[in-house]
């Protein structure tokens, strides 16, 4: 079975992996999602007016290492995360996925995303693109770098980035 899976083309394996992690996030299986995250993770969401900003020296919305990301999950599972309690419904659409195998065995991925968020009869859509670095983990991957760059000029319909992008 595993030999058959590993013989799948890289693009198929990456697309399957991304679909699975999107499913976990949309279903609020946040602890299971964390299993896909490498301890060396860097998860960044740049500011909408400065998409190329250096996270160490300019304002970005999110710049999580593993400690902060775990704290984020702990927060989102709490009934005190008021923006997400009760939790919103989300649905993620990933397209235009490109996967490049690197010399060190990691995979550089770019993809376009739309993340719909529904709550209190309001809809907000986060539109942007991912840049991710995946490292092999058995027949699957772990995410070690995840940058979600929003195309929107401001968070006009969202008010916050209260979910994980």
């Amino acid at each position: 079975m595993s030999a058959a899976v590993i013989s799948e083309p890289l693009s198929v394996r990456v697309a399957t992996f991304l679909a699975r992690e999107a499913w976990l996030l949309d279903n609020w299986r946040l602890d299971d999602w964390l299993e896909l995250i490498d301890d060396d993770i860097r998860y960044v969401v740049p500011a909408t007016d400065c998409p190329t900003g250096d996270a160490d020296n300019s304002v970005v919305f999110i710049n999580d290492d593993i400690t902060m990301l775990r704290a984020r999950v702990t927060r989102l599972k709490s009934r005190h995360a008021h923006r997400e309690y009760p939790a919103s419904r989300t649905r993620r659409f990933l397209t235009n996925v490109l996967a490049d195998q690197q010399d060190d065995g990691s995979v550089h991925v770019t993809a376009s995303f739309q993340v719909y968020r529904f709550r209190n009869r309001e809809t907000a859509v986060y539109v942007g693109y991912y840049e991710m670095t995946l490292v092999p983990d058995g027949t699957s991957f772990r995410i070690t770098r995840r940058k979600a760059t929003l195309d929107q000029e401001a968070l006009d319909e969202h008010g916050a980035v209260s979910i994980i992008l």
Binding site: C50, V59, V60, F61, N63, M68, R72, H82, E122, G159
Partner: protein
């Protein structure tokens, strides 16, 4: 219009009528009587540091832009061509030697005067070209690097307007002198929420909600004390609410129980970080004396500059936050972080980490504030309750940060402004 606040000092009861936060008529009056004659923030001088540098901004819903002209003078222009109306500045930021309207190529120098008109000979000889330059609000003034405008025909100076809180503003502004002065960092937080703008003004100077709303943030800074330093639990923090004339007010906390970005390290920070903080403290004490230097290092202040600018020198950094109505039930927030120009990257990282965790739109606190104010707005729709109660602490001898003293102060000034008819609106002098 009926008065929208109920202020019974005999009984210590204070209420705000909820129509003040739902009615488009009230917003119309606010635009005429409040935003058209208050000093309104535009930008910080560091954002237009070089000759020709410009920033496009929205102020009171109006497209505007701020420019440093080639001689070094600061201007703020209405972003509209005096010819037929197109926007002159169509980029958020940049540097220009002149501004050309793309519609008919009228060109203006950086001080706003006409520099070129295609086929000028086709105009009659009596054209008043001097009055066809870019227009500015009647008043454009800076205080300690903060650029404001006032749209009124006549008004007091910015320095007089700010006088009740100038010593507090100066404390913050002076404190970065030991590190090259403040500059606005790249990247800002810009978001909208579906609630009246005054709900976020209240929220921003209200510390009563901190313990109830921000449980997850407290857990984060408490449990993971490598980040923000945990709490100096042994310290008795003096937390007071303050209310000054002209509607300005806020709260302060001293000495801070958590790390402060400028000059208070947490026990858990690295030796290198602590050494840098020590160096900054030493410079503060040398320059400003032990007493004032210590306040700069260890006091956090959140100040509302009436009507809609928050000036927050907090543990998690120094920021200005502008809160503007888009309509009665839709508000836009624009928030900029400032940092000392010569701050080390090590401390810059700590500063940004703190700012993101607490007050960034992806942080652990701001999203829940947005939730709270949107929830109030939805609650208003229920009707059945006409007035919101803001009586907490009317009998406090010394107002606490968790009293609603500073919020009442905002509302009293707000009502006073709305009670005063507006003089003729000034379009702004020709440049």
């Amino acid at each position: 219009m009926e008065r929208l606040i109920y202020d019974d000092s005999d009984r210590g009861i204070f209420r705000v009528h909820r129509s003040s936060m739902t009615s488009p008529d009230v917003l119309k009056l606010e635009n005429e009587r409040l935003f058209a004659r208050s000093w309104l923030y535009v930008a910080h001088e560091s954002e237009i540091a070089e000759p020709g540098a410009f920033r496009r901004r929205t102020v009171a819903g109006r497209p505007m832009f701020a420019v440093r002209d080639l001689q070094g003078q600061i201007h703020v222009f209405f972003n509209t061509c005096p010819h037929r109306g197109a926007m002159i500045c169509r980029q958020d930021a940049g540097t220009a030697r002149s501004f050309q309207c793309f519609y008919h190529a009228w060109t203006f120098d950086t001080a706003g005067a006409i520099a070129g008109i295609p086929d000028r000979d086709s105009y009659p000889p009596g054209m008043d070209w001097k009055n066809l330059g870019l227009r500015s609000p009647a008043y454009v003034e800076s205080y300690r690097g903060l650029i404001f405008i006032n749209l009124a025909q006549q008004c007091e100076s910015l320095a007089d307007y700010l006088s009740p809180v100038r010593t507090l503003i100066d404390l913050t502004m002076d404190s970065a002198d030991v590190l090259g002065g403040w500059e606005v960092l790249a990247g800002s937080s810009q978001y909208r929420f579906k609630a009246n703008w005054k709900l976020m003004i209240e929220n921003s100077i209200d510390n009563y909600h901190f313990d109830t709303v921000h449980e997850t943030y407290k857990q984060y800074i408490g449990n993971d004390n490598k980040r923000l330093g945990g709490m100096r639990k042994d310290l008795k923090e003096e937390r007071i609410g303050f209310a000054h004339p002209k509607g300005h007010g806020g709260f302060s906390m001293w000495p801070s129980r958590t790390a402060r970005a400028l000059a208070l390290a947490a026990e858990t920070w690295s030796a290198a970080e602590c050494a840098e903080i020590d160096a900054v403290r030493t410079k503060l004490f040398e320059r400003f004396g032990e007493e004032r230097g210590l306040v700069m290092a260890e006091q956090s202040r959140s100040i509302l500059i009436f009507p809609n600018l928050l000036f927050q020198d907090s543990g998690t950094g120094f920021r200005v936050r502008q809160i503007e109505p888009v309509d009665a039930e839709l508000t836009e927030v624009r928030q900029w972080e400032l940092a000392p120009r010569d701050e080390s990257l090590l401390l810059r990282r700590r500063r940004l980490e703190g700012a993101r965790a607490f007050l960034g739109p992806g942080g652990f606190a701001s999203p829940d504030d947005v939730e709270a104010v949107e929830s109030c707005q939805m609650g208003f729709r229920a009707g059945g309750v006409e007035w919101s109660d803001i009586s907490r602490g009317t009998r406090s001898a010394v107002p606490k940060d968790t009293d609603e003293h500073q919020i009442r102060n905002f509302w009293r000034e707000w009502q006073a402004q709305l009670d005063t008819p507006q003089a003729t609106f000034a379009l702004g002098a020709a440049s």
